[in-house]
């Protein structure tokens, strides 16, 4: 598979994403600078990594969502190509119109770095095929603005169409909207596009792939992508 990791000024987890992809899929991604206007030919997967693009002094991801490379990403997504946005990448996907809603400041107004428990709500997406439906996985979060918000109509549509893929849960595996670490509506941690080919999530699966560092629940996400592309 051919993957591309976008690099915006201020991206800082592009290396972690590239390392996880290389470790799990066996091929090294291309690193694509924000000022480029095209993706490398034959790109299967585009990853928008974590970080603070352009410093995120405006709304998170607002400038990156309008970067030169994003037209190419929108075209890639429209063709059905896979797009994965992690943390700042999720914020950029929302700002670029590829996913609905927006990420605002955490309810407690503090940055939070912690292991979070997430329920895999469906395993029929290219990103979650290797997880059991309903599995509870452990991914770390590291964000100040991970509080997912959308208007009531949008939330209803997302739920109705089953587009919430990752949801924060309590240690017992139960959803508890009053205890979400960042205040996200409906405990939403990650959502997909209508065609299931664009995933945005706040937690960092790429930081839980290596037993030296911690749990390895993130591996299956990258294995899922590799598997989906192999079959395609």
């Amino acid at each position: 598979m051919k993957s591309a990791v976008l690099v915006f000024p201020g991206s800082n987890r592009e290396g972690d994403a590239a390392r996880a992809l290389t470790m799990i899929t066996g091929s090294k991604p291309a690193m694509v600078w924000h000022a480029e206007t095209a993706l490398p030919a034959g790109t299967d997967l585009v990853v928008l990594p974590g970080g603070f693009s352009y410093g995120d002094y405006l709304r998170c991801g607002a400038i990156a969502g309008r970067a030169a490379i994003m037209d190419a990403v929108r075209e890639h997504a429209a063709r059905g190509g896979l797009v994965l946005g992690i943390c700042n990448g999720f914020q950029i996907l929302c700002e670029s119109g590829l996913l609905p809603g927006v990420l605002v400041r955490n309810a407690r107004l503090r940055f939070i770095c912690r292991e979070a428990l997430l329920k895999v709500e469906r395993n029929d997406t290219p990103f979650t095929r290797r997880y059991a439906k309903g599995a509870v996985v452990r991914f770390p979060v590291a964000h100040g603005e991970g509080n997912y918000t959308a208007d009531v109509e949008t939330l209803k549509r997302l739920e109705g169409e089953g587009r919430v893929v990752f949801r924060y849960v309590s240690p017992g595996g139960q959803r508890d909207d009053t205890q979400v670490l960042n205040g996200a509506a409906n405990s939403i941690g990650g959502i997909v596009s209508e065609k299931l080919n664009v995933l945005g999530l706040m937690p960092h699966p790429e930081n839980h792939v290596d037993p030296v560092v911690g749990p390895t629940d993130g591996r299956a996400l990258f294995e899922s992508i590799a598997g989906a592309l192999e079959r395609a």
Partner: protein
């Protein structure tokens, strides 16, 4: 020189923090009255912060050499060889004064400054740590300072993209008007690709890189070299404003032009900005520097030469570029959207010349600006020795479980999770030991090698006996690094003291430095970088002497790394080292009996080394399952931490022939708690005998409680709840 600049008067000289005799020295040195800009330059170079004029004499006694030291003190950061052609580059630096005035920006720019020191040497930062000291939690300003400092540290490191992996946080009323923010950064470089400040070659371009120059931070270093009185808040304009995004770009751009072979010399613009960086590059290389300020990228219009020379705007670098490489270097900086301007050149006349709008604003001898700074042998008195505390003479009403519960939930011992969860400790995907262990462990690239790092000091000990306290700080950092299985290699010291013009404060500085030197020598743990922060006083009251020590060690194979959590029930618990029940200056005495008195525990450096080498060898041979060093709080606090980290309890043996409180809470040094699987017990005992190490069995892991004969059981879950509760409740109580 122009007429609208202020006239030099004794008042103006005093406002610049220069004493009358120091001004006389300037007159003698240059043979005329300085211009306004020149006065500013002297004040920037000769303040305590930049010149180390009170401490230099005593810093000379520190051991700084070892076969693995590539660069000792005197550069932006220290550099040590960690094998395989790789080097670790590290330093710790204080940002105390700015953090009191404006906690968020003060702390943020402290982190920014230390990261810049590390990547200026050509290293990519791979870890950050910090040591924070706040006033009494009951002081009305403490909560505000904790909140601001923590958000500042987090905002900078998180955005820059370096994991903040460890540190310490303490509270004491002596920091009420003067919190300490000591930031440490560790970077990784190729051992043969280290970059230095020393300029070489005449007529080469001096290039300004990074953010634009504004009016922020003017006289920051001078402000940091004076005591605070009433109205310190009015000094807010001397605090710089940080831009971690610009720093991240600067990092990438600097590493890229270094890789491209464009850089001859590089110096970051930290304290005293353009002045200090230009003078250091020239003076170290025995060259003159001529600057033309017309080319300096400015954020605001109408900035004077004086303002540009003293601005401490952040995220700026000065470089000497290799001949013919200007265009390539400029293209790289433009790609990252950063300013690039040729602002001067090197000369052969050893003068520091500053031009602005066609006028010469300063023309000074460059070597003397640095080398001829005043050097003081300040009078000092030895701190009077205190008596050893006799436990039998203490009236203790607290039970042992009761005292443990109080200690573990007290401000100094309570979990700092509320703080470190605001720091990204996972980025770069190499964090093998997260905050909360003895030392942070960060894998080097893809391993198997890793670096262990820790920072520590016990200010109570340093105040009671500066020499023993200084030794203890070094020994404890060495022990923390040992407890994860790593070989301690070198340290950085961040010396925070009060007003050195007071002989008793100077005595603390001298005593601590002697202790640090003795321990560094005995443990082969040289000092490779450091920073001195004096005048930490508000309204005439000094902080506790706080020489924070940061250490780095190497672990050859991360697979052998030890952690402090108990691993399973049924394992033997040993304590390595002698337990005599030393309660002087202990946390037990301070927290439970409200007495900060007595002689602190003496540090036997030979014993430290013997016991530490023994523990490291056991870890290396995989004969132990958990390791924890015994530090403040004593044996029972160490055991409680091992239990809370795992949920596994222990059946402990009653001590014999020793006061139980002194046994469980005494702070004898050179000790570790280890656990051993029953099958390895005989082997470990044999090893101890061969090494001549005192090894005492103190119990066995079991269940989910700590059981001490004759005492009520201590339930670990309840203990953990207390441990986790204090800080969130304290901080929450201050918010709506």
């Amino acid at each position: 020189m122009t007429s609208f600049e202020p006239k030099i008067t004794p008042e103006l000289v005093a406002e610049h923090g220069l004493k009358p005799d120091e001004y006389e020295r300037i007159l003698k040195l240059i043979g005329r009255e300085p211009s306004f800009t020149e006065l500013g330059i002297f004040s920037a170079m000769w303040n305590e912060h930049c010149s180390y004029k009170s401490s230099r004499l005593h810093l000379k006694g520190l051991p700084t050499k070892a076969p693995w030291v590539i660069q000792g003190p005197g550069e932006n950061a220290g550099v040590i060889d960690i094998g395989d052609g790789q080097a670790a580059v590290f330093k710790m630096e204080s940002h105390n004064h700015p953090s009191y005035i404006e906690p968020h920006q003060g702390a943020a720019t402290g982190v920014g400054g230390i990261l810049r020191d590390v990547f200026t040497m050509g290293a990519r930062p791979i870890a950050a740590l910090n040591a924070l000291r706040f006033g009494d939690p009951k002081h009305p300003r403490t909560r505000h300072l904790v909140s601001g400092v923590v958000s500042g540290v987090g905002s900078y490191g998180n955005s820059f993209g370096v994991p903040t992996v460890g540190g310490l946080v303490g509270f004491h009323t002596r920091y009420d008007g003067n919190p300490l923010v000591n930031a440490m950064a560790v970077g990784l470089a190729d051992a043969d690709k280290i970059f230095y400040a020393k300029a070489t070659g005449v007529g080469l371009p001096v290039v300004y890189l990074g953010s634009k120059t504004g009016r922020d931070g003017i006289h920051g270093a001078t402000m940091a070299s004076a005591e605070f009185g009433e109205g310190a808040e009015e000094k807010r304009p001397t605090v710089q404003v940080g831009d971690p995004f610009a720093e991240k770009l600067l990092l990438e751009a600097c590493l890229e032009i270094m890789e491209a072979g464009c850089v001859v010399a590089i110096q970051d613009m930290g304290a005293a900005g353009l002045t200090c960086s230009a003078v250091e590059m020239g003076a170290k290389g025995d060259l003159g520097i001529e600057l033309d300020l017309d080319n300096v990228p400015c954020r605001e219009t109408g900035m004077s030469a004086y303002e540009m020379m003293l601005s401490e705007s952040q995220e700026r670098m000065l470089m000497v570029i290799a001949p013919g490489k200007e265009e390539q270097a400029e293209a790289i900086f433009r790609k990252w959207g950063l300013d690039f301007a040729i602002v001067g050149h090197t000369t052969d006349d050893l003068r520091f010349v500053v031009k602005h709008k066609g006028e010469i604003k300063a023309d000074l001898p460059i070597k003397e600006l640095g080398d001829e700074a005043p050097l003081y042998d300040r009078p000092w008195v030895e701190t009077p020795k205190q008596q050893r505390i006799d436990p039998a003479a203490l009236e203790i009403s607290a039970t042992i479980p009761g005292a443990l519960e109080r200690l573990i939930g007290s401000p100094d011992f309570a979990s700092k999770r509320w703080i470190w969860e605001q720091y990204d400790y996972l980025i770069l995907n190499n964090t093998a030991q997260r905050p909360g262990g003895d030392a942070a462990v960060v894998r080097v690239l893809d391993g198997p090698k890793a670096l262990a790092m820790s920072c520590d000091v016990t200010p109570r000990y340093c105040e009671a006996d500066p020499f023993e306290g200084g030794k203890q700080a070094v020994a404890e950092v060495w022990r923390n690094i040992t407890a994860v299985g790593a070989r301690p290699l070198a340290l950085t010291d961040n010396l925070n003291f009060g007003n050195p013009e007071k002989p008793e404060i100077m005595g603390q500085l001298v005593g601590c430095l002697r202790g640090i030197g003795a321990a560094a020598l005995a443990l082969d743990f040289p000092v490779v970088s450091g920073n001195v922060s004096l005048y930490n006083e508000t309204n005439g009251r000094g902080i506790l002497p706080t020489p924070t020590i940061g250490g780095v060690g190497v672990l050859d194979d991360i697979d052998t790394m030890a952690t402090l959590a108990f691993k399973a029930g049924g394992e033997v618990i040993f304590v390595v080292g002698e337990t005599t029940g030393w309660l002087g200056q202990s946390a037990f005495l301070a927290e439970i009996l409200d007495r900060e008195e007595g002689a602190p525990p003496p540090v036997d450096l030979e014993l430290e080394r013997k016991n530490g080498d023994f523990v490291r060898a056991l870890i290396d041979a995989r004969l132990v399952t958990a390791v924890h060093d015994v530090s403040d709080g004593g044996l029972l606090v160490a055991l409680a931490e091992m239990a809370m980290a795992s949920g596994i309890g222990a059946n402990l043996l009653a001590p014999e022939g020793i006061n139980p409180h002194a046994y469980w809470f005494g702070e004898d040094q050179a000790r570790y708690v280890i656990t051993v699987a029953s099958g390895e017990k005989a082997q470990v005992l044999r090893q101890a005998e061969i090494a001549g190490v005192t090894l005492s069995k103190i119990g066995a892991t079991a269940g989910d409680r700590l059981n001490i004969p004759g005492e009520r059981p201590i339930v670990i879950d309840a203990l953990r709840e207390r441990h986790e509760a204090w800080l969130p409740i304290y901080m929450g109580a201050g918010m709506m």
